[in-house]
Amino acid sequence: MGATLDAFATWLHATAVSDAIRSSPWLWPWCEITHFVGLSLLVGVVGFFDLRLLGLFRRVPLNAAWSLMPWGKLGFAMAAVTGVTFFIGAPEQYINNVAFYGKLTFLLIAGLNAIAFEFFYGAAVKASTAADATSPVYRAIAIVSIVSWFFVIYWGRMLPFIGNAF
């Protein structure tokens, strides 16, 4: 497994696109800025929606809070595209880094939680115009969301400090 991953990282590192990402002096910093703009959008919009599911901001109907979600998804897309760019540019920094797998694990949990929520409750949320609707299931989903996004950020921040340093 480790050898296969190392071989993959070596191969990816040698590709033209990986080389192009590394050799541009401005691309990496601008991707970092975009990554943080995406993080802010995601934390703001998804965090606000999670607090609403928990029962705060009860006077905001669920469908109104949900209507900001395209901006949260845009934030996720910005962070995801730039994150993949980092990985392609320097795969060896991530492939043997325990923090990277911590981040991926919580990204998976947060992602599945969000997809399941939209799949099972999306229609109900879009139809929910009442001021104070929430439920134990909504609360549980909100807690999973907040905790898992917290750890996505935590492990992301730990990338340069745990495992092999940047």
């Binding site: 802010s40 703001g44 006077r59 905001v60 109104a64 209507s67 900001l68 901006w71 921040r157 400090f161």
Partner: protein, 156 residues
């Protein structure tokens, strides 16, 4: 300059910078990232709403985002001071760092202006006045500028 050097050389700043403890520099940097997400994220929610996204969202309940934003602000003010003292001689003499502080100061003033004009004694009508929309757009631009100058700090 001597003052900055003595701050940077202090036992506490050295511990933050060099101990290698996960509770030192990495924890402070994590707090700074979380505070940024909370402050800029919540402010962005209000700005987007004022600019016309989610028009059916009642504005008045968003008043309660302000204590959350001030919490994010103070987490970042404190964690920012801690990050500063680990590298005071460099950060304290960098123009971009001064620009970052100035941008954040103006952004916080704009946030206070939004609070006063939107969540003041007279609740705003559902149609957002142009001045409020301008404040919201300026707020978004300032947070973007703060993020750009903030990320730049990793390169000085």
């Amino acid at each position: 300059m001597e003052l900055l050097a003595s701050i940077e050389g202090s036992e506490f700043a050295s511990w933050l910078r060099e101990s290698g403890s996960i509770w030192a520099y990495p924890a402070v940097l994590t707090l700074h990232t979380l505070g940024l997400g909370v402050l800029v994220g919540a402010s962005t929610v209000i700005d987007l709403r004022l600019l016309g996204a989610a028009p059916h969202m009642p504005l008045e309940p968003l008043r309660r985002l302000f204590p959350i934003m001030w919490t994010g602000f103070w987490v970042n003010a404190i964690s920012g001071v801690l990050l500063f003292i680990t590298d005071a001689t460099t950060k304290g003499t960098t123009m971009v760092f001064m620009a970052k502080l100035a941008i954040i100061a103006v952004a916080v003033i704009v946030l206070a202006l939004i609070k006063r004009s939107v969540f003041g004694r007279e609740p705003v009508a559902s149609a957002t006045p142009t001045t409020v929309k301008t404040l919201a757009a300026v707020s978004l631009a300032l947070w973007l500028a703060a993020l750009i100058t903030g990320r730049y700090m990793a390169y000085v």
